[in-house]
Amino acid sequence: MRPKSNHRGEVRKMKDQGKTKEQLLDELVKLRHRIAELEAADTAQAQVEETLRESERRYRLFAENASDVIWTMDIDLRFTYVSPSVTDMLGYSVEEVMAQTLEDLLTPASLEVARDALAEALAVVKARDLFELELNRKDGSTVWTEVKMTLLRAPDGQPVRILGVARDVTERREAEQALHRAYGELETRVQERTAELAKVNEALRAEIAERERAEEALQESKRQLESRERFITNILGSIPTSLVVIDRALRIVSVNRNFLEKTRREEQATLSRKVEEVFPQVLLKYTRLDEKVQEIFRTGKPVEGGKFAYRAPSLPTRTYYYRLIPLSLSPRPGEVEGGVENVMLLMDDITEREQLGEEVRRAERHLASVVDSAYDLVVSMDSEGRILTWNRAAERTSGFRPEVVKGQYLPGLCVEEDQQKMKSWLTQLTRGQFAKKSIEINLRTKGGEEVPISWVGSRMLNDDRRTVGLVAVGRDLTERKRLEAQLIQSAKLTSLGVMAGGIAHEIRNPLAISSAAAQLLLESPEDEELREGAVKRIHSGIQRASYIIENLLKFARPPEERMVSMDIDEALEETLSLLANQLKVQQVELRKYLAPDLLPVVGNKSLLEQVFSNMILNACNAMPEGGTLTVATLATKAGVEIRFADTGVGVPPEHLVAIFDPFFTTMPVGKGTGLGLSISYSIIQQHQGTIEVESQEGQGSTFIVRLPVTPGSK
């Protein structure tokens, strides 16, 4: 169903076209109003009827000739008049139409419309004037009409007649419908076309997009190609290698920037030139470059060249490493590989590398000479302990050449009893465990001699802090031991000097007794009692003197090399007997508390006696006004403890730290060497013992010597 508005618009248009008819109708309406007015003015119904009839007659002529169908109906909806044009419209005669009712004439839908319109018109004064109704034709078809309807009223306002004008609008409607159809079709067409266009458009767009993509890809690959080309050109230009491309005719096809810079050549003076024009004859002769290039053209195999020196004008000579590489053509169809098109010469400037290598070698030589000129033995080992390097000092000390010991284990070069000690020390070192700072282990020389060495070790770690090697530095202690022995001896002689006075007195006493007794015996040989007493005293005096001399000799004698099992108390007694007189002379009272049954100590008796005499003489020196010296021995868990306590001046705290240092002395120059305590210290250390001092200034000092006993010995 078409929208009403459209329909109405069309109606108005049509009305405009039939303007004269409209005007006539308006006049008619106005006339009717006038009639109504007249009728209202006249009260008589008949008069009205008459007037109406007259008016009807007056206008019938007009109505009879009108093409529109003009009709009137009474209020019961019965036709009172129908103009003859109705026959053209419906096929019915006027009479036939007059006999019909609205139900007969109108299609059911239009009847509905008409009834509504009439009801509306009857109810209200102002009625709708135009509406379209579909009428049934005699031949069974229908015709669309535009109906204008007016309600005619009596002067009292009662509706009496309905006046209508019906016009055939079939054509118009057909035209309209055709138009609508056309519109519809057009729209469909347009839609179809639009759809087609859209499709085409879509396809076009897709194609465009595709082309754009393709273009983009093309551009991209072009860009990539360009950038790769640039990249390669840049690389070739910036690599620190000189590149020269040579063709079959030994002409230079291409070179890179580096080559031009290194050789100080212009590009145009290089390209297309023969190899012999560019490279110096000497160089070509030396490298046989041209022959090699020709060989590559024949064989297609690259050649690892070698080193050559090249000197560009006004530049220092540089060293190059060169290679020759064939550049092949892409294989033609049917060929497995293309032939060699060009040969590329690569020249790497290795001047710095060579210099660096030279420097490294120099540094190595330098280091090696440092290590070799070291006085100490320097032995480096791999992490397994196999000897890698063996310096000259090691060779000198051991008598073994480096090539002999290389790959051997260090413990195997030590004296038998120390091999295990060396092995465990190296193991500790490898593991990075606490190892003794230095360890004394004797080497066995090629000649079979023993050399005392003090070793210090360290491990070499890699970046992962794993042990990759060991270094042991050994100091030959032979000389030091000799010097130490000398020092000990000289200190002993010093002690002897100090003792000499006391010892002289000590000897002169028994000598005096013996001598006097002998003289008495000479004078009075008959006096039996005197003789007996004299002989006894002569004998004992001589015994005493010889005992003193013997002790003195023992003390003065250079020490024995070997350690023996010895009794500490006995050594102390012997030392004290030598010094007894010295103590007496210095007004020093001696108190001895020697523990019986001390375990024997493995030691060097004469060295330990030297320590004891040092302790005793020091105590005497600390007591210039006399005093008491207490010598005590004591068995401890670890061994033997020997205490020398004096009641002397004591050691000021600031001297306590230096007291065992060599040459430390508080005595006036010439009175003491200051070596006594330091020598005592080193002797006790050799015995794996300790020596320490406790002192209170003005109260006295106590020196405590501790010596280990041999486990299980008695």
């Binding site: 007195h505 002169r508 000598l511 007794i513 001598s515 006097a516 004078e523 007496k584």
Partner: protein, 141 residues
């Protein structure tokens, strides 16, 4: 009346030395007393007068020189002779003692018997001289 023998005191820390000195002087004709300590020596001197004393320079507990000074102080009439194995005649301390007349002589060990006898004679002589001087002084006064 038999003349009383001159009394001599011997101080030496070695009994054997005391025995030898005692026998030398006894046989020569002196009344000899011996002791091995300085303390006992002073005690003995305080009890009886001695013409002379032979003192060992080095004694345990009391220095011989100190003892000499004490004896001089306590019994000025006893003439002193020093014996030593430690010092020599030339030592300064001995020279000074002689000069100050702390002791009249010095015997170094070992010695000849005659040295001891001479010293004993000189000591007795000196004591007699001193007594005589005293006597004449008192007689004259």
């Amino acid at each position: 009346m038999k003349q009383e023998l001159p009394r001599i005191l011997i101080v030496d820390d070695e009994p054997d030395m005391c025995w030898v000195l005692e026998n030398i002087l006894r046989l020569t004709g002196y009344a000899v007393t011996t002791t091995t300590t300085g303390a006992e020596a002073l005690e003995l001197l305080a009890g009886e007068p001695y013409t002379a004393a032979f003192v060992d320079v080095k004694l345990a507990g009391l220095d011989g020189l100190e003892l000499a000074a004490l004896i001089r102080q306590q019994s000025p009439h006893t003439v002193l002779v020093l014996i030593s194995g430690y010092f020599y005649q030339e030592d300064k301390i001995i020279n000074e003692g002689l000069k100050k007349e702390l002791f009249i002589g010095f015997i170094s060990k070992p010695f000849n018997l005659e040295e001891v006898r001479l010293m004993a004679r000189q000591a007795v002589e000196r004591a007699r001289e001193e007594n005589h001087a005293k006597d004449s002084n008192s007689g004259g006064g």
